[in-house]
């Protein structure tokens, strides 16, 4: 009887094509001599045929997809960074996400805007606006490569240029537009060329600006080698990623505040190194089997006022640096 019950379950596996070779052979042999199991197989087979006919499929309406995208991109989100194959669109999402998480949850800030700005190299050279970001850009652009190597770090030079500028942060360009992934960046840049609705200032054609609501941080891409294909979602070289930063242009500080930054690695086994201001962080949370890394405020030493640099690197292949200004 017990043996018979086993065959009944094997029939189930047989119908679901989920038996190994031995089980299948055993069952087929048994079916030759057991009428009851033969009937059971036939009965289930018939029922399954009828059952499958009851399945109905409907087309997902476009407005539903639009609604979901709209709703999700307006809320705070976790970060997605693929360390194995870093793509611009991931970076864009992640940058926004990190900022949103930190800002909306933890900072005392005004309900302003979050702006993502990218500029092409020749356009950066043309830029004459004296705001904080532009100063950082020009400082970076003018850095002598050898000098950087000599110093070992470009940041002091950038910082000093920033201090010299003394530009009020309120001069940062602001535009309101729902954030989208990198694949849509070019599309939106065209839309932004003819701003409408809530847009509060004009943009030169050399500037591509995207914003998130409601936080008020700026994500700045300083790379001078962003290719068109990269912007469209292609893989970006290591060089392209050397200067990607998160800028917190608002008054106020994250110092002493709780926050959490989330990275998601494409490969859970990938070795990564996370550092803050050049100091390696080891106190972050990463489950053994998980590809998610949490860096909480308890993972790092107390932050003082000023610029901070959070970076994630993978075996020297890529390095993403996030600048945090307290």
């Amino acid at each position: 009887m017990k043996n018979h019950k086993r065959f009944e379950e094997l029939i189930q596996g047989y119908l679901d094509n989920a038996l190994d070779n031995k089980e299948r052979r055993d069952l087929e042999k048994h079916l030759k001599s057991c009428e009851k199991c033969k009937e059971e197989l036939k009965r289930k087979e018939t029922l399954l045929q009828k059952l499958r006919l009851t399945k109905e499929e409907i087309q997902c309406p476009d407005y539903l997809i639009d609604n979901i995208l709209k709703n999700t991109t307006q809320e705070e989100v976790p970060v997605i960074i693929s360390s194995a194959k870093i793509r611009w669109r991931y970076l864009a999402v992640s940058a926004a996400a990190v900022l949103i998480i930190v800002s909306t949850v933890l900072l005392n800030i005004d309900n302003d805007n979050l702006t993502l700005t990218t500029k092409k190299p020749q356009e950066i050279q043309k830029t004459e606006t004296l705001d904080e970001i532009e100063v950082l850009k020009s400082a970076e652009k003018s850095l002598d490569k050898e000098k950087v190597e000599e110093v070992g770090d470009a940041r002091p030079v950038v910082e000093s240029r920033l201090k010299e500028a003394k530009v009020p942060r309120t001069s940062l360009p602001v535009a309101k537009k729902d954030f989208v992934e990198g694949e849509k960046i070019q599309k939106f840049s065209k839309e932004l060329a003819a701003p409408k609705g809530k847009t509060t200032m004009d943009f030169s054609q050399s500037e591509e600006t995207y914003s998130l609501e409601p936080p008020n941080f700026k994500i700045e891409r300083l790379s001078s080698k962003i290719s068109e294909s990269a912007l469209a979602g292609g893989i970006i070289s290591e060089e392209d990623f050397k200067e990607t930063r998160f800028v917190f242009p608002e008054e106020g500080s994250v110092v002493g505040k709780d926050f959490e930054i989330v990275f998601i690695l494409e490969d859970p086994d990938e070795a990564v190194e996370i550092s803050l201001d050049g100091e390696k962080i080891t106190n972050y949370t990463k489950d053994e089997d998980s590809n998610v890394i949490f860096i909480g405020s308890d993972s790092i030493p107390p932050l003082e006022e000023g610029l901070h640099y959070l970076s994630l690197s993978t075996k020297g292949e890529k390095n993403i640096t996030f600048y945090k200004e307290g």
């Binding site: 189930q12 989920a18 029922l47 539903l64 809320e75 976790p78 489950d287």
Partner: protein, 147 residues
């Protein structure tokens, strides 16, 4: 999947949005040790059953774990008496206990294999086969009884 579990276009749209919003909001709890689609299936199942529980509570406090409902407008038994055998089977599925219903939907509507089902439902892979076996036996009995 949601449509096949609710049989109602409007409710399906509403719950689909809920699923993605829940996934979005709960993304931090996603450990990454399973595929995203299995995680989403779990959220979808939870969302559908939660909706049904709420509907049941609103109606007459009938436990939805024992009696399912969705598009039956509050009277699944009556709905199940419809003449079409196809419709009859569909409505008998709604009347299955939750644990049978979810595994049946995943296997025969969504074509998930045993391994995926085990992940989605958080049960051992060996249990998938035995539970499917019991599910079909139960469904067969219910349909036979109605016919």
């Amino acid at each position: 999947m949601i449509y096949n579990m609710t049989n109602n276009y409007e409710i399906t749209n509403e719950l689909t949005q809920d699923v993605f919003m829940n996934a979005w909001r709960g993304f931090k709890s996603f450990r990454g040790d399973s595929a995203v689609y299995t995680w989403l299936y779990r959220i979808a199942l939870n969302t559908v059953f939660k909706y049904r529980r709420e509907q049941a509570r609103k109606r007459d406090k009938v436990s939805i774990d024992d009696i399912a409902d969705p598009a039956t407008e509050g009277n699944p038994e009556k709905f199940a008496l419809m003449k079409s055998e196809r419709q009859l089977i569909k409505n008998m599925i709604y009347l299955l206990p939750k644990k049978y219903q979810e595994i049946l939907v995943l296997r025969y509507y969504e074509d998930c294999d045993y391994s995926a089902i085990a992940q989605i439902l958080g049960i051992p892979i060996g249990t998938v086969r035995s539970r499917l076996h019991r599910t079909l036996i139960k469904l067969g009995e219910m349909v036979k009884e109605k016919i």
